[in-house]
């Protein structure tokens, strides 16, 4: 809707939009600011805005607790591991549905989507018990599998919508030239779909990183990611705001930055292609 408007109106729009945007992002900006305050100034009344003694001590303190990096590393392993595993399983499935669609393809896609709607809490106890029986409780491999399964429908769906935009004739030509199916997918389809696959990976990492139900109930210490670390932060009651802010900033910064680059994919992935 690029219509010519007066500079004056544009200025009003800009002021309004920036006001709303800053208000929405305020809790994050405030947390970021607080993470550089000495603890007493973090709870000062009235609040200190910028004129405080800037310090990075809170980050050093949080880091020095050492466990922080264990949690961070677990988050990385779970997000990357579940995404990689999901891709290996979803690429062939999406290829199949996009290029050799059958009468049941649409029903199958719908059914995959429906598995996403099972409330986690409803199957909490069975999954927990299965994890106990299999010795998977508080293991990274167990959580990688669970996170992969939770996001598998979204990965398949996203890849499916991207693959459908690739002309099937190109794949057919490769096959005529004698390429096996595995080579066709690995060397012809995958390179062409790299942008779509990258988008899928990005969104899946974000979803896996922020997943805060299974990662909290199925871990204690060994496999616990940042969601567990943060939710275990016992009520500070005004004493540790600065440290809480520093830990929060470290937990959300990597994914926040990735998120900014994934706005378009987010829409497509989370609406299952219904809004592009």
């Amino acid at each position: 809707m690029a219509r010519a408007v007066s500079t004056q109106r544009k200025a009003v729009n800009t002021a309004l939009a920036w006001g709303v945007a800053l208000l929405i992002a305020f809790p994050i900006l405030w947390t970021f600011l607080t993470s550089f305050k000495p603890e007493p100034q973090a709870v000062a009344s009235p609040p200190v805005w910028f004129g405080f003694d800037w310090t990075v001590r809170n980050y050093v303190d949080v880091q020095r607790q050492r466990d922080y990096f264990d949690y961070f590393w677990n988050s990385v392993v779970l997000a990357l591991g579940s995404t990689a595993l999901g891709l290996v399983i979803a690429i062939p499935a999406a290829w199949s549905m996009a290029f050799v669609p059958g009468a049941k393809t649409k029903d199958l896609l719908m059914w995959m989507l429906s598995t996403k709607m099972m409330p986690g809490v409803a199957v909490l106890v069975p999954i927990y018990l299965v994890f106990v029986w299999l010795g998977l409780l508080d293991t990274r491999i167990g959580l990688v599998v669970v996170l992969m399964l939770i996001n598998l429908p979204i990965i398949v769906w996203m890849l499916y919508t991207y693959f459908r935009e690739i002309p099937g004739e190109i794949l057919e030509a490769a096959r005529m030239d004698g390429a096996s199916l595995g080579r066709e997918i690995l060397y012809v389809l995958t390179p062409m779909a790299i942008p779509g696959i990258a988008s899928t990976v990005l969104l899946n990492i974000i979803l896996a990183w922020n997943e805060a139900f299974w990662t909290i109930v199925l871990t204690t210490t060994n496999a616990a990611p940042l969601t567990k670390f943060i939710s275990g932060f016992s009520s500070p009651q005004g004493l540790f705001y600065a440290k809480l802010s520093a830990a929060s900033t470290m937990a959300i910064a990597p994914i926040l930055i990735m998120g900014w680059f994934s706005q378009k994919q987010l829409v497509r992935g989370l609406t299952f292609g219904a809004v592009k």
């Binding site: 809790p27 405030w30 896609l109 429906s114 069975p126 900014w260």
Partner: protein, 290 residues
């Protein structure tokens, strides 16, 4: 290209994904159904056996049940109302010509990427805290007594937190839909003398209808499962004032160790989620043909 060979290859390629999801769905569901008709309390493991529908009766007649249903409706309804209305208004605003649109978008979308426990803790401590939260400061600043938000209005406070988390999602999707609107139609309407309200009411709103439906349905699915935000802030209290259906099931299973009753509650939750799911599948399925 659907030769016999490629068909069977396709089936082979599809099977790992399908089999895994099938197991992931059926095994826990079957176990939940089984537990829901059993006497199964981790505190009294020696007392077991079939109780048929006693667990369902216990869950549905527990004093917190109807309050939990009401709270669930209020939470989902309240968040939807705030995010859809706010989302439309903010999308309309951002869609206007303005300076720094990219940065504005980034600021608006940011809360969506904050993991739930961080969002809950930030709000709980730095905003809602009755002694040194920012809201208490603001109230003191205008000469009012501080208010214990999470103690006095727990559900409303949780609605604020969750709405803050989901407002970016609604805004982004509605903005995407708005940008796909043909600007010529708006210009034509403008030249025909339609005022801004009528342009919104008769051109934009119908165009946004599908995006709004999708926002409502997808958010409902996620909102029905909200747990961590409640766990971190109020733990369902005071009393059961901020207990939702999801939290009630969690409480039965984890805090009361009553697996049987929790499983019955889980089945109730599955049924409710499925009712929503049917509507969502229709809305998205229609779109597949287009």
């Amino acid at each position: 290209m659907s030769t016999q060979a490629s068909r069977s290859a396709a089936r082979l390629m599809l099977s790992p994904a399908v089999l895994l999801l099938l197991v992931w769905m059926i095994v826990p569901l079957a176990l939940t159904l089984w537990f829901s008709v059993q006497r199964y309390n981790l505190l009294t493991p020696d007392r077991s056996g079939f109780v048929w529908f006693a667990n369902y009766a216990a869950f549905v007649t527990s004093p917190a049940f109807w309050l939990a249903i009401l709270n669930t409706l209020l939470l989902v309804g309240g968040v939807l109302l705030i995010t859809v209305t706010g989302g439309i208004l903010i999308a309309l605003l951002i869609d206007q010509p303005l300076w720094g649109q990219g940065v504005v978008r980034i600021l608006v979308i940011s809360p969506f990427f904050i993991m739930p426990p961080v969002a809950a803790l930030i709000w709980k401590n730095m905003f809602f805290n009755p002694s040194n939260g920012l809201f208490a400061e603001a109230l003191r600043g205008i000469g009012l007594a501080p208010f214990d938000f999470l103690g006095q209005a727990p559900l409303a406070s949780i609605i604020v937190i969750v709405a803050w988390q989901w407002l970016p999602f609604a805004t982004l999707i509605l903005l995407t839909a708005l940008q796909s609107l043909d600007s010529e139609r708006l210009e034509a309407a403008e030249m025909d003398g339609a005022n801004p309200w009528n342009r919104f009411r008769f051109i934009m709103l119908p165009h946004l209808a599908r995006a709004i439906t999708v926002v409502v349905l997808i958010q409902t699915i996620f909102l029905l499962g909200i747990l961590v935000e409640i766990l971190v802030t109020t733990n369902g209290g005071p009393g059961s004032e901020s207990t939702t259906l999801t939290f009630l099931v969690y409480k039965e299973a984890i805090l009361d160790s009553d697996v049987g009753t929790a499983a019955a509650g889980g089945v109730v939750a599955v049924i409710l989620a499925n009712i929503v799911a049917i509507f969502l599948m229709r809305a998205i399925g229609k779109n597949l043909d287009a």
